[in-house]
Symmetry: D3
């Protein structure tokens, strides 16, 4: 018997994509809002003893509790197994306490999802290209967290636009290791944007560690929010002589006119993103190319 | 040393009211929103080994997770004890499964709050005039739930407007027991709105079980949302000869022009509500009288 | 392979009934009492990797711990799944704290049964026509509680004795909603016994909200203990002109000569009860008709 | 502030004894039985933030659940700490599985008491002269089990009746180590009753390992139920030449005329027991001397 | 599909023995030590949804944590079921607190292994010929502990060397019950070494309770460490006239020249041991006969 | 009353240092090894209701279980609070799964320490200069993990040897952020060793991003094991023209002649380390300067 795929309201587009390969049964949920804003949810598909996939990113508090409520109910109705597929895990950048007293929301939310009652065969959660490697271990023992790398999507796009001899570039030192690893996999050089302090306390930024002159530069960042650091990096690489600049990201949020900022800076040929966040579906523009993670989700589901 | 009172964003008004009696120390939280909608929270007051009150209703998903994140962090910073004061507990009307597959959100949310890590002396949660009596037992053993009755507020208001000889009335059979208990406490008669089926499948509604002719009728309902059932009940009591009709509620949500509906129906003298829900603070009108639960909260805190 | 049905000592009669449909294998337990009153129990049927049904009501403390001990042992011997079928859940009327300091035994016992160790596929508990709707949510996350409604038994009996046009009646306001729902399902009128306070503090009881004159009245109550409130209700309906009165109940305890009281009041034609409580098996009298829940149990087992 | 001592119904006698030393405050509980046998319990003394002792042996299933319900409620009302004082722990002889499928009730009951919710400072349980040493470790981490040895009572009684040169004797090999330890503490010889198999499969029992001729023999057993094995041992020691035989026990159950059996066998001078089990209070006879554990309980409480 | 057998580093020899019967698939683990002594472990065989046996005794702290780390990882990789087979359970002699403040390592280690996260079908642990019967109940509810008796191995060896009419003997009173049970099973007499105190405080040891004159005596002890008590017992039985003495043990540790001590005392014909402890594999000498528990392990695995 | 400081065997040196400030009471533990290698531990100081600090790094498996056993026992004896002070947390470099099937020991060990039973006021663990920031959140909710930064020690040493105008340097890109933060705090430039790939697949390493010519370079790494990467980095900075090179580390393990390697490379003036790892106490040499974390521990204890 096929596994059943449920999804939250915001992830309808991705669920359709996944279901189109015909490997999963579509689960039906009745959802409506009461006048006081409370959500009525009813699971219409029989889930008893079935294997369930629940697809939805924790893109905001409502989406987070939609997952929590649905998952808790699916378990209480007797599901055999439950796999949460969370393409975008919110609050992943708030993953440690920098100042005393700060809420480490990556931890509180990991605990929250760990506390969903156990299905018969236990619960798992699949997280995509996390901002920090440690996050799967923030989850507590009730749930099994798996980090899914979207490298195949990034590799394909990079090769397609960069050919054989491009430079894989990062926006700042924080992603240095990840980009270095991507570069090694692709057999190309990696470039980092570095900050050098001048004598009189000025900060000069420059991409010094790799020769980008006359080359295609592909900047990768795990997520693009307002696009500011991407634009800054593009400037640096442009000044350093890069011929063409492409941008690849996993999570395209494009908030606060982030997409326009990237498009209008005039330095970037194209932005390639996956569809882990529903915001990418709101943009229709040739400057943006969306590549779906639906195949990865089908693999998770089939395994 | 005084206990510290923290509050969620929406409950600033009630926290100020509680603090005005000068029995608690005000806890400070830095809160701001990132461009992607994520909330940055930082607890600025030292909470280690202190006794903490966290005030906030679960009026929507954001407020619910604001409580969850703050409470989890307060505990992780070493609070000695934690009391959640939740004047309004959302989803309390979704407290049992009527149709197969429904989300029983009163249970999933009770579990969610039960899963806040334990402070040294354990966590308690105080809930006000719950829609259903069983809800405190929906919480799991990690937390101790206490049902706070706002009877004193209702009694005082009823006596003030009803004098010695009024009729305590309910909107439907569901609150019959509660209103009967209020009426007995106040030494007055109780009236219920009943549905009687006529021969040809028509439903006639009438307040038959108590003589309201020429009397003041005080309708109590635990919460007013759009006000529809209050207006219906007022019509019935009016037709049954009630002279004056007052309405008392604990939780005034007044959504979808609910306040206007009550005011404009022309049958009600005044609506008296407590301030458990922030919506009541948005209305300034003599037709609405707000009585604060701040004294009850100070009692909870001082105990 | 068939599921195995075990039962507690008191529920032998119901287990036999369930087994007679030949869908389950009978599980054997050796039970004897030591001279000091302690119970020796040994599970003789191999339960490793089998799906187990354990049938028994928590009709008293001994029965409750017999279930607890057997269930804990069945799990420790490696059962694949465990379903507790509890036709009668004791202490369901002690479901909330009315006076400060009271033991809420419905909660303490729900926790007790939630604490049985988990079988491989988790434990479930099936409870029948509970006195209060919230009780399934008193159980904690280790166990999955399911409320089984015996409506089919009640419907059939009501239709059989009431025909098409009878009145479905309750004993007091507490069961108003339930009886209203039964009445709606059956397409008949519902009647409630109401208390009206007279001028000089006298209480007058009367069935006013539905015309019962010349009609068959079928009183339903979820449980009959000493039968007092049933007899009182019967008097009221009789005085209101009811032609014939039948009584239906799910849980027939008939303690303190409760059965005799009902039979001898002279107002009731017949009492129909299910066999969820072993007390009904001690009575042999045409005035009592027992309808078995064994089919419902077979359905639970087969699902 | 003094700690509060509550007790179960059966342990009123011991609570009075403990309270007579005036170190604890008496906690009041309202208990009554409903007609259906269910127990109504209400804790009348305010327990919030107080340190509580709950005294009661698990002498049968009712007593066990009386403890469970009271303790759960005391915690839910906010007790600061909870110490269960369980003078007699039932089912301690069912502490391992001898035949496949047996209920190991010592474990299931230890789990049950471990599952009482935690008071602020955690729960502890004090168990007296357990039949098996491992039992404190059967409890799970929620509760801290402490084994209280009543050696002082046994020592004093043994010295008083045995003088300086008696023989400390056991009834069978199972208690050999315990009696050997007592004997070493008292500086006397230990005697064991041994079973020797003869050629033709006959079993001859004899006390051979210590010379009891002309000496006072003091038989110790942790509990006396029907008294059979004590009488058998007394016969053996008598035949081996013992001059006088005394019997000391911690737990005197004396079921099935056990007391008469001991008294009437004519071989025993006196039986000395502690008052850990309420059965000893039902006997008034010079042949039985009862020594109270109330001082030990006061020590536990004061610590 | 076959179950997969993993093993710790020290138990390679026993895993090979078990695998030779070809009923299990060999699981591969890459293990190496870093320069700082930390262990790198990688599970090379795919365990997702497979049934896993992990073989290894807790013979020291390293071995204990090797099990803990491997088992935790096997579960985190999605094993369907996990059975820990622990032929030798270290610290089983530290199973109760004799002096205040002592670490009861049998309990702390039982808790440690109970805390391995649950595989889908739960975890079980199989322990062999435990020093104390209560230990399986020291484990907490997360894991199911099973006590495996190696009686078949002991019986066969005893019968082979003792024939039909030997004496089954223990080293001290502590093992009396176990040896008595073995003797009864084999239909022979049991002998115990007893300590008798003489008049002037001297301790005389002698085997008095069974006639060993001219007979073959087979001493059984659950474990042999330095062999001291075995040699002492052998002397006693020799002096009491035993003709031939054999020694059988389950757990042969033979530390501190224990093997040489036994061999060189000149009183023992042969020592027969199982292979539950890897130390036995280091000895190659006709005086020692090793009988493998591998068949028992295959039975556990196949069940 | 003072808090009590216990320590593991290996951390005697650091406990003495901490105790010398006279703010804590020394806790006594009796430890000895049995011939079979098992550890006998007995806590001699009364811990009931006391606040306990347990000091010890998880430098190997034995040390880890010494902490686990001691801590579990301290709690079982009734400690009021427990703080584990773990100066060196082993396995912190195995903090994520790089290849499928790898044991993430940083997580398994964090779980292990989270599973110590709770003292009355809960348990906390203090970890020093962790290799990865996320590790405190690997611990589960039973314990509260606190990351202690030894920045004050590093700052003081850097300023002392570097004066006002030195370069703060890292060994590789992995520590870039940390060193950058240190440099910013000290108002100096940061230098990173970068890997640049040449045309024909050769890797050239060079410190390019900061001008070190003629300057003092201070290399910081969180831990020094064999010293290899430090020596490599020193070479690069030397070749880049650094005048003097100092090395600072928090955790000095100096395994495999690591200390000799650093001393004999001829490029380094001095190595400054804290005393979080006992290995540093084995070296007496002017080339190594040890600065104690004992003040930090006293602060943790006093807080």
């Amino acid at each position: 018997m096929k596994k059943i795929l449920f999804h939250t309201t915001d992830y309808e587009y991705l669920a359709q994509q996944v279901l189109s390969s015909n490997k999963l049964e579509a689960g039906e949920v009745e959802v409506r809002k009461f006048s006081d804003g409370e959500r009525y949810q009813r699971i219409l598909t029989e889930v008893e003893d079935r294997n369930i996939i629940l697809l939805g990113g924790t893109i905001n508090d409502e989406a987070t509790l939609e997952i929590y409520d649905l998952a808790s109910t699916i378990v209480s109705l007797g599901a055999n197994s439950l796999r949460l597929v969370v393409p975008y895990f919110g609050y992943s950048t708030m993953e440690r306490r920098v100042k005393n007293g700060e809420v480490v929301a990556a931890k509180t939310r990991a605990r929250l999802l760990s506390n969903i009652p156990n299905s018969y065969k236990g619960n798992r959660i699949f997280l995509f290209d996390l901002h920090t490697e440690g996050i799967p271990h923030y989850f507590e023992s009730n749930i099994r967290a798996v980090h899914i790398y979207c490298k195949s999507i990034v590799h394909d796009a990079a090769r397609e636009y960069g050919g054989d001899n491009f430079v894989m570039a990062s926006t700042d030192a924080g992603r240095a290791k990840w980009v270095e690893s991507l570069a090694n996999d692709l057999g190309v050089n990696a470039a980092f944007v570095l900050k050098r302090r001048l004598e009189e306390d000025q900060t000069e930024i420059s991409a010094v560690n790799a020769d980008v002159r006359g080359k295609t530069v592909i900047i990768y960042d795990d997520m693009i929010r307002s696009g500011g650091s991407i634009v800054n990096a593009a400037k640096v690489y442009h000044e350093a002589g890069a011929e063409k600049i492409y941008v690849i990201t996993t999570h395209g949020l494009f908030i606060n006119n982030g997409f326009e900022r990237l498009k209008n800076c005039g330095l970037i040929e194209k932005v390639i993103t996956s569809d882990t966040h529903p915001n990418v579906m709101k943009i229709e523009d040739d400057f943006l190319e969306v590549r779906s993670v639906s195949n990865l989700i089908n693999e998770i589901a089939m395994h």
